[in-house]
C-alpha cells in the first residue's frame, strides 16, 4: 500500500456521474435519469464538508458513489492518494475500514434481530480485528465512548430510543477507526433536543480523532453548525460551493438564497415562499440552468445554457449562475 502524500486530499472525486435507466413499461420507453451529473468533490483530511439540497437533488446518491456502494456511470475517485475508481469489490471490502457511513434513520440501519453487542461487533468480526474476550471489551469500550451504559449490550434495537440507536450506529462506524465518515442526514429522524446532543458529540469526535466528514443534510442550520465548507446541490449538480459561513451568509446562487429564505426562523411570523413551483423531475430536466423555471432573476441565456461552477466572491467561493457570475446579485436583505 502506498502511503498518502501529506498534501493530497483524503477524498478527491472528478466528474462523478450516475445515470439510472428506468425500465421499459407498457406505457413508456426506457428512460435515462441523471441523478448525479458531473460533480467534483474534494475533502481534505480532518475537514468537514456539508452537502445540502432538497429531496431528489442527488446528494444521497453522490454519497454512495463516493463510497463505491453504487456503480459509477462516469468520473474518478481517489481516496488517500489511491485511485479507487475501478477497485474490485473484494479490495473495496478491505478499504471499508477507512470509510464509514451513518444512515439517516437509525431504526432501519440496525438489523432488528441483532443485539447491540452483535451489531457493534459485526464490523470487527468481518475485518478480523478482534474476537472472543477482546471483542467483547472493545465493544463495551465503544459503547462507553458514545455514552451508552454497559447493560445495553444485550438489548435489541426496538428496546432503544431513536437517539440511543443512532449512538449504536456511531459506535459501529467508529469500531473500524475510519478516516472518512459520510453522514447521511444523521439527525433528521431525531428530536431536536437529541439532535443537539448528537451534533455536539459528532463535532467533538471529529476533533479528537481527526476524522473527515461528508455531512449530508437538508437542514442549513445544522450544516452551518457542523461544517467548515458547504456545497449546495440542485438536480444532480453542485450550484454553489464555499466556506459555510460565506455561502450561508452571503449566498450568490438564487437557489441558495431561496433555500435560506424558506427556512422558518424562530420568532419571525410567516415565511417567504421564495422559489415557486416544485423541484424538477430528474427524468425530465429543464434545459439550460435546471433552476431557471423557479428562478426569479432568470435571463434568456439561463433557458438555453447550463452555467459552469465558477469563482464568484474570491478564490474560495464558487457559484454556477449566469446572473451572479456577470454582475453579482444584490446583497440579501434580512426581511424574511
Amino acid at each position: 500500500m502506498t502511503a498518502p502524500l501529506p498534501e493530497a486530499p483524503l477524498l478527491e472525486a472528478r466528474g462523478l456521474a450516475k445515470t439510472y435507466l428506468t425500465p421499459r413499461t407498457a406505457f413508456r420507453p426506457p428512460g435515462r435519469v441523471a441523478a448525479v451529473a458531473g460533480v467534483d468533490v474534494t475533502l481534505e483530511a480532518g475537514a468537514s464538508l456539508g452537502l445540502v439540497g432538497e429531496s431528489g437533488c442527488g446528494k444521497s446518491t453522490l454519497a454512495r458513489l463516493l463510497l463505491r456502494l453504487v456503480p459509477l456511470s462516469g468520473g474518478s475517485i481517489r481516496f488517500a492518494g489511491q485511485d479507487i475508481t475501478d477497485l474490485s469489490e473484494r479490495a473495496m471490502r478491505r478499504l471499508r475500514r477507512r470509510m464509514q457511513l451513518i444512515h439517516q434513520n437509525p431504526s432501519a440501519a440496525l438489523d432488528p434481530r441483532l443485539t447491540v453487542m452483535s451489531a457493534v461487533a459485526e464490523p470487527l468480526r468481518i475485518q478480523g480485528i478482534a474476537r472472543g474476550r477482546a471483542l467483547h471489551d472493545r465493544v463495551a469500550a465503544l459503547l462507553a465512548e458514545v455514552g451508552l451504559p454497559g447493560d445495553f449490550l444485550h438489548r435489541h434495537p426496538h428496546e432503544l430510543s431513536g437517539g440511543q440507536k443512532q449512538r449504536v450506529c456511531i459506535a459501529r462506524a467508529l469500531a473500524l477507526e475510519p478516516q472518512l465518515v459520510v453522514l447521511d442526514e444523521p439527525t433528521s429522524a431525531l428530536d431536536v433536543s437529541v439532535q443537539a446532543q448528537i451534533l455536539d458529540f459528532l463535532g467533538a469526535l471529529r476533533r479528537q480523532r481527526g476524522l473527515s466528514y461528508l455531512f449530508i443534510s437538508h437542514n442549513l442550520a445544522v450544516v452551518r453548525q457542523v461544517c467548515e465548507r458547504v456545497a449546495v446541490m440542485y438536480l444532480g449538480r453542485i450550484v454553489e460551493e464555499g466556506p459555510a459561513a460565506e455561502v450561508l451568509e452571503r449566498p450568490q446562487h438564487p437557489y441558495t438564497r431561496a433555500l435560506l429564505a424558506s427556512v422558518p426562523r424562530l420568532g419571525v411570523a410567516g415565511v417567504a415562499a421564495a422559489a415557486p413551483g416544485d423541484p424538477p423531475n430528474p427524468a425530465d430536466p429543464p434545459p439550460g440552468c435546471a433552476f431557471h423555471p423557479r428562478c426569479l432573476v432568470a435571463e434568456p441565456a439561463c433557458r438555453t445554457t447550463a452555467p459552469a461552477l465558477n469563482f464568484a466572491r474570491g478564490e474560495d467561493h464558487r457559484v454556477a449562475c449566469h446572473v451572479a457570475a456577470r454582475r453579482g446579485l444584490p446583497e440579501m436583505t434580512e426581511t424574511t
Binding site: 443537539a196 442549513l220 452551518r224 450561508l248 433555500l259 424562530l266 410567516g270 416544485d278
Partner: protein
C-alpha cells in the same frame, strides 16, 4: 371572539399488553374562532394523539378516554354518536395529515376523489349529494383557491403524477370542501422540502386569513409553529407545560422544558449561539415519573416536583406555565 373549541381536563390512555400508557394527562386548551394555535413537542408527547382526538380518530381499543371533555361550539365531542361525528368531520373540523401520499387513493383520478369528498359532505349534512358536474366545478374552484394552476388538467390526473407539495394542496382543498370552522393540520409540511414547505405554510396562512378559519397546527418544528401561529402550546409527555403568545414564548420561555427545547434549535439567524442538548430522554408513558413528568430531566427539580404535579397557572396575561418554580 367566541370560543370554538375547548378541551377540558382531557385524559386518554392506551391499553396494551404492557399495561396502561397514560398518553394524555389532563389537557386544557381553548381556541377561539379564527385563532391560530400551534402545538409543539417532541416524539411521543401526545400531540398527534391530541389532534386525532378532536375527530375521535384514535382507534379504540387501545385508546380509552379516561376523563374530560372536548367541546366544539359547546357540544361535547366525546359524547356524540358516530353519525353525529361524521356530520362534524370535514364540515366543522377538517384535518390534513403529514403524509399526503397515503391519504389519496392511487387508483382514482383527483377529480373522482374530490367529487366523492364533496358529495360525501353533502350527504353528511343531511341533504342530497349534488350532481357530479356541480361537485367537479366546486373541486376546480377549490384547487384554484389553494393556488394550483390549471385545475382542470390537475383534476384529470392521478396522485402519482403530482409532487408532494401538490398532493398536500389537493388534500387542503378537499379539507376546505365542507367549509370547516377549524382546520387541524398534523405536521402538514414535515414530508415536504423546505422551499415547498414555505409555499404550503404561506398557503395555510392565506386561507386562515381569507376564510376566518381557526387553525390548530401540530408540529415538532418550533420554526414552523413560530411562522404560522399566534399562540403556541408546548407539550411534554402528555401534558401542556406552557402556553403563550408565540413571540413571547420564543423570546422568553418560562417552563424549563420550553427553555431547553428552544435552546436546542439551531438558528440560522444566530449562528454564534450553539444549540444545547437536553440530558436524558423522553419518559415512558407506561410508568410516567411521579409529580411533574419533566422532573427527572429538569435542572430546577426539587423534592416538591417529585411528589406534586404542577397545575398550569397564569403567570402573565395570556401566559400559563405548569411549573412549581417558574416565575414571571
Amino acid at each position: 371572539m367566541t370560543t370554538l373549541l375547548e378541551i377540558a381536563d382531557y385524559r386518554l390512555a392506551f391499553d396494551t399488553f404492557d399495561g396502561t400508557h397514560h398518553v394524555l394527562d389532563g389537557i386544557d386548551l381553548r381556541l377561539d374562532a379564527g385563532e391560530t394555535l400551534g402545538v409543539v413537542g417532541e416524539t411521543g408527547c401526545g400531540k398527534s394523539v391530541l389532534a386525532r382526538s378532536l375527530l375521535q380518530l384514535n382507534p379504540s381499543p387501545p385508546a380509552r378516554v379516561v376523563s374530560g371533555a372536548i367541546r366544539f361550539r359547546g357540544e361535547d365531542l366525546l359524547r356524540l354518536e358516530e353519525a353525529a361525528l361524521r356530520r362534524l368531520r370535514g364540515r366543522a373540523i377538517a384535518m390534513v395529515f403529514q403524509d399526503p401520499a397515503s391519504y389519496l387513493n392511487p387508483l382514482l383520478a383527483v377529480a373522482t376523489q374530490m367529487e366523492d369528498a364533496i358529495r360525501g359532505q353533502d350527504s353528511a349534512a343531511g341533504g342530497r349529494p349534488r350532481p357530479r358536474r356541480a361537485a367537479r366545478a366546486l373541486a376546480a374552484e377549490l384547487l384554484s383557491a389553494v393556488g394550483l394552476p390549471e385545475p382542470q388538467r390537475l383534476l384529470a390526473s392521478h396522485p402519482h403524477q403530482l409532487s408532494g407539495g401538490m398532493r398536500q394542496r389537493v388534500l387542503i382543498a378537499m379539507a376546505l370542501a365542507g367549509e370547516p370552522a377549524l382546520l387541524v393540520a398534523d405536521e402538514p409540511t414535515t414530508a415536504l422540502d423546505v422551499t415547498v414547505q414555505a409555499q404550503v405554510l404561506a398557503l395555510i396562512d392565506g386561507l386562515v386569513r381569507a376564510r376566518g378559519l381557526a387553525l390548530m397546527l401540530i408540529s415538532h418544528d418550533l420554526g414552523v409553529v413560530s411562522a404560522s401561529c399566534a399562540r403556541v402550546a408546548v407539550m411534554y409527555a402528555g401534558t401542556v407545560v406552557e402556553e403563550a403568545p408565540t413571540p413571547e414564548l420564543i423570546a422568553r420561555p418560562l417552563h424549563p422544558y420550553a427553555q431547553g427545547l428552544i435552546a436546542a434549535v439551531p438558528d440560522l439567524g444566530r449562528p454564534e449561539a450553539k444549540p444545547r442538548g437536553m440530558p436524558g430522554s423522553i419518559p415512558s408513558l407506561l410508568h410516567p415519573p411521579s409529580g411533574c413528568r419533566f422532573h427527572p430531566r429538569c435542572p430546577l427539580a426539587s423534592e416538591r416536583c417529585r411528589v406534586e404535579k404542577p397545575l398550569r397557572r397564569t403567570l402573565l396575561p395570556g401566559r400559563s406555565v405548569a411549573c412549581h418554580h417558574a416565575t414571571p
